[in-house]
Amino acid sequence: MSYIIPKESYNGKVLSVDFGKGNNALTVGGGNCLPFLSFEGELPHPPVIAYEIQDTVPEDWPDTVKNIYKDVSANPVTWAQYCQNELKAKALALRLVSTHPDRENRSTEDVAKIIKEVLAAIEVPLIILGSNHIEKDASVLVAAAEAASGSNCIIGKAQEGNYKTIVAAALAHNHKLIAMSELDINLAKQLNILITQMGFAKEKLITDPMCSALGYGLEYTYSVMERIRLAGLLQNDATMQPPILGDVGMYVWKVKETVASESDVPEWGTLEERGIAWEALTATGMLIAGTNLLIMRHPKAVKITEQTINELI
């Protein structure tokens, strides 16, 4: 008797979300089976990796990743162009860290100017992220959405404490939106419901259940992401069908495995290799859990992860 592969059947489908304009526009999601199980369904759009750039020199990044960008990171425009032209980035994620009140506390006027300059200098799709300060993001992301009007960006992150103004701005300027909750599956669902109840289409949402680095709670992130996918696919829960974001780089490049020097822990091997492996492995875990869009920092980690994606699809 020949072996028949057991197949799961699914009732739901991950929503497709596109961002960017013209030939460089990208689409994520759209699959009707669990990640990479293409023998069970259709997975029309492979996961996308966006390079993270910032609006200020990334002083808090470890040298391994900071030095790669040392000649371009003084200006977000040159940094963006470097990623697009030299590293062949398919998408960029601009994090407006300098707007944080504890950093440079930059104004919304500055934000608008930076966004316009970056958008004018690149062709690939752009994700615009705040500094993760609830109150400040509410004004920063509104200004960013307006400055990027018509560019079909993804903006975020809208959270329980600030989603109303950010949703309204994304709606007014026709952007996609990241809804973020902190490792709480029920809150992730609730936030999606609240946002759609404001008239924002679920087809324009991306859900970020919060990332974590390998060794620092990755299994919690993994479980939440997996549960979101199962609710969306098996239970056809329409509130749990947006694509998932994994904001990997910011969680990886601060843990001791990516920072501790070779002289401190010689048994851990080369610092650079260690950091790259940490980011690539964390990203791969997220992909298996169901992530459709990743934000990463180290070009080599991006290449390894892209290779993994290509081998699995």
């Binding site: 599956i185 029920n186 809150l187 669902k189 609730q190 419901i193 609240l194 109840q197 549960r227 609710a231 239970q235 829960d237 329409a238 509130t239 749990m240």
Partner: protein, 262 residues
Amino acid sequence: MIIIGEKISVIAKKVREAMNARDPKPIQELAYAQWKAGAHFIDVNTGPAEEKGEELMQWMVESIQEKVQAPLCLDTTNASALEAGLKAHNNKWGMPLINSTSNDPERFIMLELAAKYNSNIIALTVGKGGLPADAEERCGLAAEIMARAAEFGVPLENIFLDPLILQVCTTQDQAMHSIKAIKMFQELNDPPMKTVVGLSNISNGVPKNMRGLIDRVYLTLLMYEGLTAAIMNPLDKELMDTLKTTDVFLGKTLYAHSYLEM
């Protein structure tokens, strides 16, 4: 859980008048409201429909599906009227559901129609010899109907076994027999047999102000045993809230504070 909206019935005066006058609007509105409230099937009960039954059922099916993109549950004892409904049914939104066959040879024609039109069918576990006494007798009848269905070429996955809910106010012990039958029916096949009830039968004859409560509690008990579908009123918000809450407890819906609004 599969919800079969029960409101379009010849028993309701407003519906009966619209049927007689061939006035589609009240029927379409009622069908649409049930669909929007979460009904997966709309029951179309034209009763015995002896006179012009075929034409009436065809008109009902076409009128409703003009406004509602859902399959219908065709509910009449008149087999030729039922066939007219199956012919008119738009299967684009799902297979229809025949309501119903049983172990009474007079109702086997319905199995024939289910095979011919590739329809789902409700099988009432009653025979010619009166009402079943307990869950075991219901299972015996179910097994006989399943064998009969195989003869007619109706796949088991198209059958919804109905234990026949009886009113609690006169036959109290039957309430638990039916619940037990829901559990036992599923064990008659692998994958498990599908099950259905006419929910409001349980509260027939009790004072009107208590009917909602009785329906709600009984639905929860049935769902706990794995009920697949219920013929019920999706416009009853308290009943729908009970259903949604039970689905949360059973892990079929992910909890969120606003789950009742979904």
